[in-house]
Amino acid sequence: MNPKLMSEIVASMPDEIAKGIQKTGLREGGVWMTVDRDLLPKIAGHIHNSWGAALVSMHAVDNRFITSDFKLCVVLALKGQDDFVTLVASVDAKDPVFPSLTSEIFCANWYEREIHDMFGLRAKGHPDLRPLVLYDDWPEAAFPLRKDFPVDAKVPRVPRPYVFREVEGEGIFVVPVGPVHAGVIEPGHFRFSVAGEPIIDLEIRLGYAHKGIEKLSERLDYAKGVHLAERISGDNGFAHSLAYCQAIEALSSVSVPDRARYLRCVFAELERVHTHLGDVGGIALDTAFTIGAQHAFILRERMMDVNDLLTGSRFLRGVNCIGGVRKDIDEEGRSKLIERLVMVKLDYQEFYDDVTSTPSVMDRLETTGVLSCEAASDLNIVGPAGRASGVDRDVRRDHPYAGYRNLSFKVPVLRQGDVNARFQVKSEEIMESISIIEQAISNIPEGELRARVPVPAPGKTAMSLVESPRGELVHWIVAGDGSPFRHKIRDASFHNWRAMEVAVLGDIVPDFPLVNKSFGLSYAGNDL
């Protein structure tokens, strides 16, 4: 970031807000501002509103054994710039309270609930501080991400009823669904309030599969952490391990060899293609268009098979490593890959034509599950789901990483925000990804696959954003002694789940699975 921009941001603030800035500095990845805790909401709100900066992450760090306080970090991405503003406020360990950001930045809601659950810092003025990620019978004063909470602690189970939102009125029924579902999927509880057929309210309760990944990462040395990152969210494992590796590489100020950068793009796009194929197949399946769905699943299988052929893993595991990649693509692999892509491209067109020329399917897709552009921006919906509602953001273009700076691609954006728009965006993205792979594989530079990366110095901080198939994801790491001191992970689904609560309103309950599939959400990525 250029220093001018930094002073412009500060100069644009009214005096009564700017007085809360205690220190500013430029670091790799943008501006860092140490700010007064009480003015944090106003400062963050100003940058969010006046500079169109989206909230990328909000999280806490338990620094009590170093600086005797908790640190609260708010990371904002400046619109139209490859720059970030990180606001850091100190929260007194004896008075673990901070003013809530929710009145300024709507989507801070879940972040603050998560911080409350994991660190015991209370957001004053937050409209709803019920537990978000902890189990219902988790005791009140046990905060898992605090440093004095042992990783293997056994906590007593204390029954605490979770109070759901009540919707009352004549003829209103509540339909609770889950957390155990009919299919073999992950757990989530959905509470529909219906007036006749239409849904008038949906409340989502997640967290049933919370695994403590951030805590676990703090005791895994960096190389082992790659395998953990790969398993955060099964079908987005490459994107997660990429973000993790890039963060460690940034901590050590190492640049990755060009060949590895290109290969990372190839693998990341392979992951996008098979994930999107699964999603569009699921959309077809949930409209009872089974033949079409199987058609998509055949293509997905072909892509996963090519992953297996190239890397030895259908889910591209064991490919990323800190400093580069462990798998190369040789001449034979290259020609097999190109052949497979041509086949999938042609067959996909056939599948697409089948879906879009079947009126009974299109009737279900169009105008169902509408998410307006305004709601998508307020909730900060990322990835294809956001782009289908007019949110023109894509990390690959806005904050290029790996080899994306040298590859050309289009970012499809639609405005309708319905299931069909999400289907169309994903369809276009499949084609774009295939084109990216073709470009990358044809221009791949010769050279090393991996750079040597020294162990990062404790105390340094780095962040990496990656456009996973589901959208922007973030790994934010403070280096510790051989392993992360703090590792914040934010999956795309942490933002996107909330879109469901808005998009299904006015639809009928049988459309819920379809709308859900069109958002392609991850339970595992949300329930860290």
Partner: protein
């Protein structure tokens, strides 16, 4: 729209995996010097080396291949073996005698 038959008659007709898939790691005990490199590098603690034996627990192994890359004596290789199911937990643990 017809695609013909795309499914395979597994297990009646055996599945032949691609070369280089990460199946079960195999330990060549003639080369092993029991220096514990694999035990230390394994991210899931799947390998245990005792004075007289090496145990690999395939129930814990995530087939990452780190042990094979790390072994200075090339005693570990990743194989194509993928049919590892067992009806008993113990059936997933393989024990190799260490040659002194």
């Amino acid at each position: 729209m017809g695609k013909g038959v795309v499914t395979e008659r597994y297990p009646n007709i055996p599945y032949v995996p691609h070369d280089g898939i990460h199946g079960a790691p195999s330990f060549n005990m003639d080369k092993c010097r029991s220096d514990k490199t694999c035990e230390e590098i394994c991210p899931t603690d799947a390998i245990h080396i005792e004075p007289d034996q090496l145990c690999i627990d395939l129930g814990l192994c995530i087939f990452c291949g780190d042990c094979a890359l790390a072994c200075p004596h090339h005693a570990v290789t990743m194989t194509n073996e993928f049919e590892l199911a067992s009806k008993r937990r113990k059936g997933l643990v393989r024990v190799h005698a260490i040659k002194q």
